[in-house]
């Protein structure tokens, strides 16, 4: 842990623009994302579809309605209120934009990611307040009250950091960083001990190491992207026999037609996953293949997957078709979930004639109320979401800071990759001391994730690998 996070240069350059989710997770219907820095208006503008008659940035300290899109594909993200605070009359003393969007980590996180793609940097805990202080915007009362919040956040930040660092992320990053350090030490030893060798390090020795590091880091980013949300959201799986109404219920919960619904049983073979927020929690919901006794190889593979996804999920929604007679497939579903406590039994299609023998379910789930729902009328849906939230509370999701940390990591990894790409561009056309600047920047960025100090690590690497000196 030597020198962990000790580099205050973490706080970026003075004229960069930072962004972070300002509201804690689970705090309610509205999420606030704060952007501060000289480029905050131009960065936010990228994400907005505005009424052409309204100016941008809007008049300071006035709420304006705006539609937020993903500028890469024009997809609509949210409708939000935007408030602009012009420097120096803002919290930080810089140009600040606050985006008030719908609450929950999904939308806020999505917007934050877009801001970062548009050129903002993920802020660190306390960084807004730090800027505020440095720009002389803090008075005593504010300092006192903000301090408490920061302390709490910082401790959570460190906890999350430690959790992350003990995992594979850390060892992968360390691995890349060590390879770069070795490369740097080869360059540096020739610089520091010119008597021992007068030649530059050949580009052919440098290129493969950088290529490898860039590809390792880009793999890491891909992995981080795909696992990011699921790591932090509560997992819900829908299980039931074919045509039990799983896809319809999922669409209803999500509020839009995510899954193609068909009356033909067995339509869902490729599992569909999506995310939603409710009651202050974020959920990852997964539709599965209908459970049935089948000879079809593809279908039976899907069913196997359904069983295993039950095992890995935080909440299981066991669906039974209220409009159909009980059959052996329903028994299989009962068997599959019987050992789990986090099951919510749902009888679907309440709007249709009831044919199912309810007692078969109540017999199995004697201490749980059965929810009767209709996706047509919406009946039972509120009750279902309430029960889901109750179970979510007991499944202890991660703190919001760990997600912010992820973004910080991603930011730093991207910085490292940018530096390495710059280095590759210049390879062969600049001397070693210039080349080393970009490699060192990359090592610095990665070291800020793992909490390591470049200068001392570099000298250690030199002295352990090379025999130099008088």
């Amino acid at each position: 842990m030597d020198n962990n996070y000790s580099n205050f240069m973490d706080f970026g350059t003075p004229d960069d623009t930072i962004a972070a989710i300002a509201t804690p997770r689970g705090s309610g219907a509205i999420g606030i994302i704060r952007v501060s820095g000289p480029d905050s208006t131009s960065i936010v503008e990228n994400l907005l579809v505005r009424d052409s008659s309204s100016p941008f940035p809007p008049a300071p300290r006035k709420m304006t309605l705006a539609k937020i899109i993903d500028p890469s594909n024009g997809a609509s993200i949210d409708r939000a209120m935007i408030a602009f605070f012009k420097a120096p009359d803002s919290y930080t003393g810089e140009d600040v934009i606050e985006i008030f969007c719908h609450g929950g980590i999904l939308i806020t996180r999505e917007i934050l990611s877009l801001l970062i793609s548009a050129g903002a940097r993920a802020a660190q805990p306390g960084e807004f307040t730090c800027r505020a202080f440095l720009n002389g915007k803090m008075d005593l009362v504010q300092a006192e009250s903000v301090l408490d919040v920061i302390n709490a956040r910082n401790r959570a930040f460190l906890d999350a950091a430690l959790k992350q660092l003990s995992g594979s992320l850390s060892s992968r990053i360390k691995n890349v960083r060590n390879n770069l350090l070795s490369l740097l030490s080869i360059i540096e030893v020739v610089i520091e001990y010119p008597e021992e060798s007068s030649d530059q390090v050949p580009a052919s020795d440098i290129k493969p190491v950088i290529d490898r590091a860039v590809s390792d880091l880009s793999n890491l980013l891909d992995r981080a992207n795909s696992s990011n949300i699921s790591n932090n959201a509560v997992g819900i799986v829908l299980i039931g026999k074919p045509n039990a109404g799983k896809s319809s219920l999922m669409n209803r919960i999500l509020g839009y037609d995510r899954v193609i619904v068909s009356d033909t049983p067995g339509t869902t073979r490729d599992f569909v996953t999506d995310w939603f927020s409710s009651g202050g929690f974020d959920f990852e919901i997964m539709d599965t293949a209908g459970i049935t006794n089948t000879e079809n190889i593809v279908e039976s593979e899907g069913i196997k997957k359904s069983f295993s996804s039950v095992k890995n999920s935080d909440i299981i929604l066991a669906l039974f078709d209220g409009s159909a007679e009980w059959n052996s497939d329903d028994d299989t579903v009962i068997d599959a979930v019987s050992e789990y406590k986090n099951v919510i039994p749902v009888i679907t299609k309440k709007d249709l004639d009831k044919l199912i023998d309810t007692y078969r379910i109540s017999d199995q789930f004697s201490d749980t109320d059965i929810i009767c729902s209709s996706t047509k009328s919406g009946e039972g849906l509120d009750e279902l979401l309430g029960r889901i939230a109750c179970l979510a509370e007991s499944s202890a999701p991660c703190s919001s800071d760990s997600l912010i940390l992820n973004l910080r990591h991603r930011d730093l990894i991207t910085m490292a990759m940018d530096s390495l790409c710059k280095c590759m561009e210049n390879l062969g056309s600049v001397p070693d001391d210039i080349l080393s600047i970009d490699i060192r920047d990359a090592v610095d960025a990665l070291g800020r994730i793992t909490g390591e100090d470049t200068s001392s690590d570099l000298l250690n690497t030199i002295f352990s690998n090379f025999c130099v000196g008088k």
């Binding site: 030597d2 020198n3 962990n4 996070y5 000790s6 580099n7 205050f8 240069m9 973490d10 706080f11 970026g12 350059t13 003075p14 004229d15 660190q124 805990p125 306390g126 960084e127 307040t129 730090c130 202080f133 440095l134 803090m138 005593l140 300092a143 006192e144 903000v146 301090l147 920061i150 302390n151 910082n154 930040f157 460190l158 540096e188 020739v190 610089i191 520091e192 010119p194 008597e195 021992e196 007068s198 030649d199 530059q200 056309s429 600049v430 001397p431 070693d432 001391d433 210039i434 600047i437 100090d453 200068s455 570099l458 000298l459 030199i462 002295f463 025999c467 130099v468 000196g469 008088k470």
Partner: protein
Amino acid sequence: MKKTDYYDVIVVGAGHAGVEAALAVARMNLDVLLVTINLDTIGLMPCNPSIGGPGKGHIAREIDALGGEMARNIDETHIHIRWLNTSKGPAVQALRAQADKLRYQSRLKHILESNNKIYLRQGMVTKLITQENYVKGIVIDTGERFYTGAIIATTGTFLNGIIHIGEKKFPAGRLGEFPAVGMTESLQELGIETGRLKTGTVARVNSKQIDFSRCIEQKPSSIPLAFSYFTTPAPRKQLSCWITHTTSETHDIIRSNFDRAPLFSGQIKGIGPRYCPSIEDKVNKFPDRDSHQIFLEPEGLGTNEIYMMGLSSSLPIDVQKAFINSIPGLENVDIMRPGYAIEYDFVFPTQLRPTLETKKIRNLYLAGQINGTSGYEEAAGQGIVSGVNAAASILGLRPLVIKRHEGYIGVLIDDLITKGTEEPYRIFTARAEYRLSMRFDNADTRLAMYGHEYGLISDEKFDFLNKRINIINSEIDNLEKYHVLNDAPSKFSAFVSKSLRHALKAPETTYGDLKDLNSSYPPVDDDDLTSRIQIEVKYEGYLKRQKKQIDEFKKYESISLPEDFDYDKVEGITVEARSKLKNIRPASVGQASRISGVSPADITVLIYFLRKASSR
């Protein structure tokens, strides 16, 4: 003649730190008593007879920009000078020179003797006189007392020094010199904590016994060069250096005598420098290498003594002789002086302020090896800073603190006082975050204003430097006004109608090409200036990027932390951070952020409390 026993400043020790310290004080017009154990060893080079190289050469140049003596002294006394790292880029190239060891010393001594403000005195300091945590004077071995307003201790390896040569060990300051006894104990009584370090040097041999035909010649620069901004390079008599190498026989001899090496037997307890290992250490740590390079360096025009870089050892003399004779070219040499290791006391440098004053005792300054460093340049850099600060304290001037972005001297001092050191500290260019901005060529733009501010650089010399800097700046603008013409050589055709400045940015273009690109452009006729212009233009993008980083860095450096700041009152910082902060008592938030174990979170919390404290 001095009429009283009171001096404005007393400097203890006349090595590379002490000499610069005394000169700085004297040049600030204060009386200074320079006390040394032996007047014949002023400015001695007990190890390599050389100055410069990457990092070290940068420091010598910085000392020159501050108005110190080192660069001028080596310019007047070198017997071999050349550029290093010329192919590796502008940030890391530096001069290195071999000194005529005796002439280096005698010139320095004469500079001191000729200064009316400096009083030289042979003697060993046995005790510091203090009163209520202020220094008042010294007692020397004759029993005499001298009184003062400030003391600068630059004791090198002398404090309780013990030399090891094989199984033999004996007290000494350097080989053939008395150790300083009493001073460490005096410091400890004042509450200053000390530790023990080890360093060493190589045997010297007689050049007439060397077969140079078996060595590779390393020639000096064919054109005259100079370290100092104020020296006009002139031809001097130059000697070559020579390269040979150890053999597997050398390594066998060393390996079979590991049991007699004080380094391995536990006889030596102090920690030695990793970057400067003894030959037995190299053979031990890198058993796969069957050869190491050895540089044979002449020690002067008037002597045959040869320094053998790469062969530092504290093995017994018979083993030293045997392994030296196993090296090509050295088969028939005798040892003139043996190599040895020396252990000595040093003060943990985290007890110092950025001014090099101790936090415990007011107006007691420490510089050089006593602070855990190694190297003449490192010592001299601290010497001039301590000298200026001791004098500034007496004169009521603001202290001189060189920041990490301003010079290697700043990096060196900040590392020492913030992180401490566990081995003798040597500068490396890799220690600097802003290497490209702190080049050998631009020490004047970084530091000369300080030299001028404190009177170490005269108005005349300052003007001279500024005129040159102005030429560089105006010429860079001028390059924007001329454009590449159609008749430019074909390899530059891509730049036609672009500015000369633009063309010069391309890796393949040199300043010398510009006259071919536009025949009406009047080129500057001064190699030193044109190379500086070329660096500024070629690396403008990188320099701008670094400038941004530096601006951010300065922000935190400028928030100062009072030394009596009550860290116990700061709620919300970690226990580890609190104890480190209380121990080191950083001078600024920037310095605090570099202490290991202090996190950005701790720093943020600290800033609030500071703000709070200052508004009360």
